[in-house]
Structure formats: C-alpha cells, structure tokens
Amino acid sequence: MKDMSDIGTGPLLRVEGLAKFYGARVGCEGVAFDLYPGEVMGIVGESGSGKTTLLNCLAGHLAPDEGQVLFDRAGQLVDTVTMSEPERRMLSRTDWAFVHQHAHEGLRMNVSAGGNVGERLMGLGARHYGTIREQAVDWLGRVEIAEDRVDDRPTAFSGGMRQRLQIARNLVTGPRLVFMDEPTGGLDVSVQARLLDLLRGLVREMGLSAIIVTHDLAVVRLLADRLMVMKSGQVVETGLTDQVLDDPQHEYTQLLVSSVLQV
C-alpha cells in the first residue's frame, strides 16, 4: 500500500489576505487558506458572491489588489502575484490547469480534438507528431472519447464531450493544481454524473489538487474534501465538506443548505 500521508509535507498553495476591488465594490476580501497536495476544495456561494473573482485571482487571470497567492515550487513557496508574467504563464501551462464552465472558452473550436489535447505538449516543446498523437489518443480514452473522434473538431461534440475534451486538454501535461469554474454547469444531470465520476477518478489517480467553484452543493458533496462558503466577497465559513453541509454554522450557510431541494 503506498503511503498516502500528506501531513508533514507543506501546502501546495497558500493564500494570504487576498482582496480584489472593483472601484468601491468588493470583489473578494480577506481570503486566506492553505491547500495541500491531493486536496479538493469547493468554493460555493450564490451569483455575485465573489467566488469566480476569487478563482480568477488565484489562477492569475485577474490581478488581486492585496494579498499573496503562494505556490509550491520545489519545496519553496513562490508568490505568483508578483512573479513575472512569463513565469506565471509558464506555470499556467505546466503545473496549473483551468477548466472553464463553457467548454468553448477553454477549447480551440476550429482545431481537432487531438490538436486541442496536443497543444500543451507542443507548447512545452514536443516535436514528434506520432508521440503527440499517441498521447492525445490516450487522453481521449481516459476521458471516454473514442479514438476515432481524434480528428473531429469540438464543434461536432456534445456538451458533455466538449467538457471532457477540455479536461483532457488541461490534464495532459500532468498539472498539480486544477482550477475549475462550474465544471458541470449547463450539462444534463446524467452527463454531470459521468463527468463527476471521471473527475473523481482522475483526481485520485493523478493525486491532483483542485479548487472548484460551483453553486451546486450536490457537486461539491461528491467532489470536494473541503468547502469554503462565500457571501458578498467574504468567506463566511470553511470546513470539511460534509461537516459544512450537515452542520452549517453561519447564518448564510444554513440558508444556502436549507434552500436546496432534496432529491
């Protein structure tokens, strides 16, 4: 049995005093947490609660106004907010991945599935067509897309397939941290389940850490180890996912949990 112990090793990501303001309006404020290797953290809250702003600040898509986003590189925590843009872009092509809610934002719609998956490899210097294609086919298989679709463009794919393709495209370079913005949003319930199962398996097999923004509490219950609840740009509650959902402490979390229709 392999040693799954993560206690004793340092965090993969450490966020301190993160804030983003839109003029006088607060995007998010005072956000601080540690994320350890292999952990999946959910960020929940209603529209406008600042969860997407926070995710974009963490992933380097938005420049925060205050605070640090420290990422582990070879045992050293490096501030990704102040690092040079080339370094940050390199990080987002190697150690980081970002799965958009709308697959078309994360895919090149006029490029074949194989080309979409292969892009990150080619970006890192892969120059052997056969090897790139082989890896693309392998990854399509892992996200349950048949090999004979490798040359089809995502425009010919269903919503669920596109989302799986986006995941393959992101994970092909073996990132350590994946940011996901409503990864199951807009998909049919049955397609969602398939995607959730797939994500769980990949997270486990690859030892991925992930930060998932969603408003769907059922999704976080199944995917996330930990939960962060946001309201009006502030983190109002954090904890183990099942604990936050079953024994919510904050007024807003209690409202959120009690508003969910039970199935």
Partner: protein
C-alpha cells in the same frame, strides 16, 4: 515630375519607415508597427511593399518588380510604372542587374547577392492569427516565445491530410527567436530565405514591417517525424527545360491541354537565351 517628392512619399514619412526598417533589421523576424500611409492604390495591391520601396530607393537604384515570379503581370507592371513615374529610377527585368526587387509571392530563382534588397508585399504578417485572432494575445505570445500554437497548425495539417499540407506562407523561425510568416511564397522558396541579400517585408493594411538581415538563420517549422519538405511539380519547364525551378501550370486549351513553365520569367528567359530548350519550347535563334 515636380508634383511629387522623389519616390512619392514625403521625407518625414520615409524617415519614419526607415526607422521601422532599421529596427526590423536589428530584431530579425519581429513585426515593427509603422504608420502606413494611404497610397494611390488599394490595400491588397502591395501598398506595404510599395512604401518600403519608396523609403529605400535612391536615384542610382535599378528597380525590378515581380508578381508570382513574373515581370509582366498587371500588378508588377503597374508598380514598376508607378516608380518610373514618381522616382525616375531605372527599371529592369533582370534579377542580376536589379538593386531593389519588389516581389509578391516568390523569391527569384537566381541567388541574390550582397547589396541586393528584396522587398516583399505581405497580406497578413501574423503567423499565429490562424488560431489566435487576438492581436494582444499574439503579441504576448511572440514576446514570451510561446510558439506551441504554430505547431498545432502543422499538427492539424498532418491529421487532416496525412502530411504538412501548408504549401505557401509556411512558417519559419528566424535566428532561433521569432516565428515569422514569410508572406505567401511557396514553401519551395523557404530554403532561399537564408540569403546574402537583405529581405524587407511590408504589410500596408496591417501596418507592420519586418525583416531578415543577410545570412540570417531561417528554419522552417516541422515535426521530427514529418520533416520540412521542399515541394514542386515533378515536371521540367516546357520552355527552357529547367528541372529545378518552381513551375506554373498553364492551361493551354479547353481539351485539358497544359504546359509547365518557370514561374520566374527572367530565369526562364536567361536559360532560353543560353540555349536551353524545353519540351514545347522553340530554340531562341530559330525564333
């Protein structure tokens, strides 16, 4: 002639273009923005090349213009006449004798020598645009040398056609740094981008100038298992018999008749004058 300044453009504009040219030569393959002027011809007719030629021509120059290798097509003729009129420079059809050659879509067959300048007309200077429409993003990609996308284009070619089917405007990497669109020259011409002459590229509508200084390394992008291949029709020129020149296919009748001729008209003429005769050609002295 007193109506026009020498070579049509005013001296301030020429100075601005020359500064852009110097910068472009200093950073091979880098696209330098410049304030493209209205020219007395529509965009797409070589206004970028014309502005560069206007900025570098001096009265002592001998000027040659080719369009797809030919000196006698409309575009080439009208640009040559334009400069005959506004710059009163000597013009020629002979590659060897020209000091400045403006070209559309070809590099002359004859190797250019030191002191010669080749000016390209460029429709779309950005090689990454095919896959990334955002100019902000492509400039960043150039700045950070993020060129994976260029190979995605070649990957798509192989996936769809079984080989790199891009046959013109084939992307190159200049001096190990900038990826560049060599304008829509056939990829047959790509190896000639490493030359003794100076190469200047002008895109009028897109307001970009870039350059390759003499003897600069220019590598055509490819894959290890799908290496770059020069490509031409397997035939020989039907007029001069040349087997190594780039050929145009000419339809000769409505019954499927066709012939292959050198796209470089000056090269073909020179060979015929030297006594070479192709399958359908007529010996010069008999003519």
């Amino acid at each position: 002639m007193s109506e026009y300044n020498f070579a049509y453009l005013d001296e301030q504009t020429k100075r601005m273009i020359r500064r852009a040219l110097l910068k472009a030569l200093a950073i091979p393959g880098y696209q330098v923005p410049f304030a493209s002027r209205e020219m007395p011809m529509p965009y797409g007719w070589g206004t970028g090349g014309v502005q560069i030629s206007a900025a570098i021509l001096v009265p002592e120059d001998r000027f040659k213009v080719i369009d797809q290798g030919a000196d006698d097509t409309t575009n080439a003729v009208s640009i040559r006449r334009f400069f005959e009129k506004v710059a009163e420079v000597e013009t020629t059809e002979k590659t060897a004798e020209a000091t400045v050659i403006q070209t559309r879509h070809r590099i002359p067959e004859r190797d250019l020598t030191e002191g010669q300048v080749l000016v390209y007309q460029v429709p779309i200077p950005e090689p990454l645009r095919f896959l990334e429409p955002s100019e902000v993003e492509t400039r960043k990609m150039h700045a950070l040398e993020e060129y994976g996308l260029m190979h995605v284009k070649l990957y798509e070619d192989i996936a769809r056609h079984g080989e790199i089917a891009t046959s013109y405007a084939y992307p190159v990497k200049v001096e190990g740094r900038y990826v560049m669109d060599p304008s829509p020259i056939p990829k047959f011409d790509n190896p000639k981008l490493e030359m003794a002459g100076i190469q200047l590229f002008g895109a009028g509508r897109e307001q970009r100038i870039y350059a390759i200084p003499p003897h600069t390394q220019v590598v055509s992008l490819d894959f290890e298992d799908y290496p770059f291949q020069r490509m031409k029709a397997p035939q020989c020129c039907d007029l001069c018999g040349a087997g190594e020149s780039y050929l145009d296919e000419v339809i000769t009748d409505d019954a499927g008749g066709r012939m292959y001729v050198c796209s470089d008209t000056d090269f073909c003429r020179e060979r015929r004058e030297a006594g070479h005769v192709g399958a359908l050609g007529v010996a010069e002295d008999a003519a």
